[in-house]
């Protein structure tokens, strides 16, 4: 009986991909540097007989070169290694037709980006931005990118490692998943709003609440996966859905902007759509002048 997959990335890989098919640090003909970013677990595996890239992080492996990179925190080396893995994936399939590109599966269990001094001096900023752009490059090339939250998906960690996926799946809180920017207790301290009041408000407003189910309401997560045993089948199904939508020219029903629409439909982010609609009306009025 599985209670949580936090810190159990190897087990998650075993559960999701074809038996013993994961090859770490190998993608196509590229051999990634095994010394670089030890917390990053990337490579290729078979999913229902099809090759795919696995981009996971293993929170039990710290990075010996960066003191703040441990317990799933993603630092600079980690962000760049993920980026390398994506570019290796794009390269491996460069001669394949767009609808045959291998899927990229992200397994997410991170409490955030590294809050260290060296990261500020050199630029954690550029690391996380690079990874985000790489994911978009892969989507453009045709690779289905699926994010699977198996443990923690927190703040900047989630921003780079998952949020830009075509589709995001998550295990519910019964399995210990944590999805938020920061815990409600910390929000109470920073905003100086009593915790009891915040906990009361959470019941009707998911916007600062901690938990996958609230992100689901906001359109931050596409689909909840009831139990770990269902991850494999759901990911296989989702890969197919992504490919089908692209094939039908409905690629705009994937990704972060589409999830904004889902967030309005599910009632979690209604004001966003209202603002966009109003701005668009004002824009349409002056557009002819801009094109003159």
């Amino acid at each position: 009986m599985i209670t949580t997959l936090i810190g159990k990335t190897e087990e998650a890989i075993q559960m999701i991909f074809d038996k013993d098919s994961f090859q770490e640090n190998i993608i196509g003909t590229t051999h990634l540097d095994a010394e670089l970013a030890p917390p990053v677990m990337v490579g290729q595996a078979m999913l229902d007989g099809e090759i795919c890239s696995v981009l996971a992080n293993n929170s039990r492996r710290p990075n010996p070169r960066f003191r703040v990179v441990y317990s799933g925190i993603l630092g600079m080396e980690e962000a760049y290694k993920f980026s390398q893995a994506i570019y290796a994936t794009i390269d491996a399939d460069k001669d394949r037709p767009k609808d045959k590109k291998r899927p990229i599966i992200l397994l997410i269990d991170t409490p955030g980006n590294s809050p260290g001094k060296i990261e500020e001096i050199v630029g954690m900023t550029k690391g996380t931005a690079s990874y985000q752009f790489a994911i978009e490059d892969a989507r453009l090339a045709g690779h289905p990118v699926i994010g699977m939250i198996i443990g923690r998906a927190v703040s900047g960690g989630f921003l780079c490692h998952g949020l830009l996926s075509d589709r995001i799946l998550a295990l519910p809180k019964e399995y210990g998943t944590i999805v938020h920017v920061m815990p409600t207790t910390s929000i109470a301290v920073i905003t100086k709003i009593p915790l009891e009041r915040l906990n009361e408000l959470v019941k009707t407003n998911p916007v600062f609440a901690s938990g996958a189910e609230y992100f689901y309401d906001l359109g931050g997560i596409d689909e909840m996966v009831k139990k770990p045993e269902d991850m494999r089948a759901t990911i296989i199904k989702t890969v197919k859905e992504v490919r089908d939508l692209r094939k039908q020219g409905k690629g705009d029903q994937l990704g972060i902007w589409h999830r904004g629409e889902i967030g309005a439909q599910r009632g979690g982010r209604k004001k966003r759509m209202e603002a966009i609609k109003k701005i668009d009306e004002e824009y349409q009025k002056i557009l002819p002048e801009l094109l003159k």
Binding site: K126, T128, I187, V207, W257, R272, E274, A275, Y283
Partner: protein, 321 residues
């Protein structure tokens, strides 16, 4: 609102409000604001929490002209909840970026090609700590919407980032800033992912002493970022100076403007990773250590020397790409 455009040109960029910056960087009387204070679209979430709201939700967005270029401007107001982004101001920011792209596409549709002297421009004037914690989840999601849009703007619409206001570009706004084609800063500019207080709180005072102002400036400040190549233009503190710098960029071909991009290709991944490896190998403990590696000998004087002198003596990280 009535703003005297001429007066704005000599005004300190650092002291200017978001709206003044937006009006002042485009041509005289051309700025048209989207969803301005008159529309009173405030944050429903701040209201529920009993917090003060602003009619513009702490951001000015709209479009103006610079010569023949439609210029989409997003200008953040640091004096309101630290300029942080939530559902409403986040949507205003991300969607205004999207409109720059839409305008490019419309132009292409109409004329077949987008001439260099007419291409739309996207400018963000940063003054934000990142995600607004009162509505944190919506704030997080809008950052991804912005990043995807910036990625879409690549090689089409020049995206120019400005930093030099009271807050800087912190938190997730730090990487939204450094995803730009061009970054312009005055000496007040700051760019970072984790703010000093948060580092001290999360890791400890031995990692970062948040009360040490000099440490903050030399770690996150514009001069260090200029040496690293993250800031492309370090300029004097007036709205007019920012405007002049922008004017000199906008007519250039896109291929030239994008040469100063910091992220967005496998080659840049390798180039940036080299700096990370260098910092680990040399056991960098302070920005000054890195400044020395790039050939600066007078590292103790760098933070305090007049800007002109700094620009004349500074040695920067050589870019390969």
């Amino acid at each position: 609102m009535r703003i005297n455009w001429e007066d704005l040109q000599s005004k300190s960029f650092y002291q200017a409000t978001a709206r003044e910056r937006a009006y002042g960087i485009v041509d005289k009387d051309t700025f048209k604001e989207f969803l301005g204070p008159r529309d009173k679209m405030t944050s429903p979430h701040l209201l529920i929490l009993g917090e003060a709201v602003e009619f513009d939700d702490g951001i000015t967005v709209g479009v103006g002209m610079i010569k023949k270029h439609p210029v989409f401007v997003i200008s953040q107001e640091g004096k309101f909840v630290g300029g942080a982004l939530g559902e409403v101001n986040g949507a205003k920011m991300a969607y205004t970026m999207k409109l720059a792209l839409k305008t490019y596409e419309k132009m292409k549709e109409k004329y077949g090609t987008v001439p260099d002297d007419r291409k739309p421009i996207c400018i963000v004037s940063f003054d934000s700590g990142g995600v607004r914690l009162h509505e944190a989840n919506a704030g997080l999601l809008m950052h991804s919407e912005s990043m995807e849009t910036i990625w879409e703007l690549q090689n089409k619409v020049p995206y120019i980032a400005l930093t030099g206001s009271t807050i800087g570009a912190y938190g997730a706004q730090g990487f939204v800033c450094l995803s730009a084609d061009v970054v312009i800063a005055n000496d007040f500019g700051r760019i970072g992912l984790t703010g000093p207080e948060v580092i001290q709180q999360e890791v400890g005072k031995d990692e970062f002493d948040a009360s040490d102002r000099a440490l903050i400036w030399r770690t996150m400040g514009a001069r260090s970022k200029y040496i690293l190549g993250d800031v492309d233009y370090l300029i004097k503190d007036s709205i007019g100076t920012f405007r002049d710098t922008i004017i000199n960029i906008v007519d250039q071909p896109m291929s030239k403007i994008s040469k100063t991009r910091k992220v967005g290709s496998p080659q840049l991944v390798e180039e940036n990773l080299e700096v990370v490896k260098l910092a680990a190998e040399k056991k960098i403990k302070d920005s000054k250590d890195l400044w020395k590696i790039y050939g600066n000998t007078n590292v103790d004087e760098i933070p305090e020397m007049p800007q002109d002198k700094f620009l004349s003596v500074v040695k920067r990280r050589p870019r390969r790409i």
